[in-house]
Amino acid sequence: MGEILTVQGLTRHFGGLAAVTDLSFDVRAGEILSLIGPNGAGKTTVFNLITGTLLPTRGKVFFQDHEITGLRPHQTTSFGIARTFQTTSLFYDETVMDNLIVSYHCRTRMGLWDALFHTGRSRADERQSRQKAEEILELIGLQDRAWELARNIPQESQKRLALGLALVTEPKLLLLDEPTGGLTEEENISMMALIQRVRTRGITILLIEHKMKIVMNISDRIVVLNYGEKIADGSPQEVGNNSAVIEAYLGAGYAET
């Protein structure tokens, strides 16, 4: 399996604070890689650096052999990197369907003139957007709620929709920031099933997750951050037995016992 994403020596300072320090790791095509670590370890900052929401102080990011360091979020998205946010982010005043349709924009080509004169290209783009939205609507299981406003649907459906918005952009790599945050045990299971389904479509997944049971079950590999530095990586088993990881999570002294 080749690498789809390579992070080299990524560093980001906020004033005097080092949020991420000299971080390097690879994401292999087709895998689910989890990024874990205690609160404030810099996980979301890593997402922001990869997608271009933040510029790195130092370091490089490569995606499918292209350097994407410093590209803006809309550019990394058209390259094929999509993300979700920790706090569910939606176009709340639009319907579920409209949320999905507008998120397909980066794959359409029509401009102002096409809109004004209803050109063939505009009709083709509209049709394609609609088709793509319907396809993803089915995948995330929200067909019954297609015409409801995003703000009126239950929290779990909103989380699914947020994932759907990322999927509509036709990503090759999907960055999920705590997709199960605030969900119940039962909902966790169906969300994980959905993520597995996404993966079978050939989409590589980089996951931030706090619930260890989920992380250990779903991940192919895990990268552990603490205070912005990588302290371990490897398979769930390797990471689970790593003394530095246990120390970071439970404090010094637990590792020996």
Binding site: A82, L90, F91, S103, V168, T169
Partner: protein
């Protein structure tokens, strides 16, 4: 309302709009109608950037003024005909929108509002002081109206009567509605709304926020310019006050009262605010006081304006019906 019902309603309004000058011959009322038409174009264009893209632009008066002054200067100093000056002056207003948008649209929320307000004040100052070109406070006089359009069989359409002026404004109002509606209902319009809804998310799903905002702003300023040209040639006189930020606030009030982010809202708001005080003969000072009061009440109780309120009522009724059925 179903699709057929809506179609008939639009047709009825259109027929009424066309018949009006045949029934109303009073010049005073015709003047109010023509002004309402011009201001409707300005309010509609403001709504594109304000209502649909979520950027509070307080410089619309400046772009209206730029369109008006540009057309007046083109016609007076370069002897250009109205029909060439109109698109050119509107394009100049749009181009200024583009230039100002480049720095101003990098800021968000209230910073954009303050930035555009400052730009408006600067424009008024320049128009006021640059006497060599704009004649300053004396104003530009004798701006010609639109020249006659020749028809193939020897006759021609002239714009000397009030009714003809009214039809001219009506045509441009319909054109503005048509173009803005096309944009708003397209995929391009959806990206505008995405920026209004959540700019960070819009970027994350691959929408170029800056380009989208600039596009919306440029189109918005272009149509503000169209309104300015129509005003200049109808009134025939321009002074720096017409570029003033008061004009921006008037347009803002029309949009807010009619309904932000709706197509008919700005027109209804303009008709109400332009016609009611005029017909009730309320003194100008009281009018401003009244505007302020209405605006406060609207923002607190009907933040989506009259049209938004009616839509909410309908939505609620539909929900209640659905509830009873289930």
């Amino acid at each position: 309302m179903n699709w057929m019902g809506r179609k008939w309603l639009i047709l009825t309004i259109l027929v009424i709009a066309v018949i009006i000058p045949q029934v109303v011959t009073n010049k005073y009322y015709m003047n109010i109608l023509i002004m309402s038409g011009i201001w409707s174009i300005v309010a509609l264009s403001l709504n594109l950037i304000l209502g649909y893209t979520g950027q509070v632009n307080l410089a619309h008066g400046a772009f209206f003024g730029i369109g008006a002054y540009a057309s007046a200067l083109l016609m007076l100093k370069l002897n250009m005909s109205f029909w060439f000056a109109l698109p050119l002056a509107a394009a100049i207003a749009g181009f200024f929108g583009f230039l100002i948008g480049l720095p101003a649209l990098r800021t968000r929320g209230s910073y954009f509002a303050i930035g555009t307000l400052c730009f408006n004040i600067i424009v008024t100052l320049i128009v006021d002081r640059w006497e060599g070109v704009t004649e300053g406070a004396r104003g530009l006089m004798g701006i010609p109206g639109p020249g006659p359009i020749p028809l193939p069989w020897g006759s021609e359409i002239t714009f000397k009567t009030m009714a003809a002026q009214y039809y001219l404004v009506l045509c441009f109002l319909i054109l503005t509605i048509f173009v803005l509606r096309r944009i708003i209902q397209s995929l391009v319009g959806r990206t505008f709304r995405a920026i209004r809804g959540n700019e960070e998310l819009a970027e994350a799903v691959g929408i170029h926020a800056m380009r989208t905002k600039i596009l919306s702003f440029t189109v918005s300023c272009f149509f503000a310019g169209v309104g300015g040209v129509l005003y200049a040639s109808y009134i025939g006189f321009l002074s720096p006050e017409i570029t003033d930020y008061h004009v921006s606030f008037d347009a803002l009030i029309y949009v807010m009262i009619g309904g932000v982010g709706t197509i008919v809202g700005p027109i209804i708001g303009t008709l109400l605010i332009v016609t009611i005080p005029e017909t009730l003969h309320i003194a100008a000072e009281f009018r401003l006081l009244l505007y302020g009061l209405i605006l406060i009440v609207m923002i607190i109780y009907l933040p989506r304006g009259i049209v938004g309120w009616v839509k909410d009522l309908k939505g609620k009724r539909r929900q209640e019906v659905a509830w009873e059925k289930s």
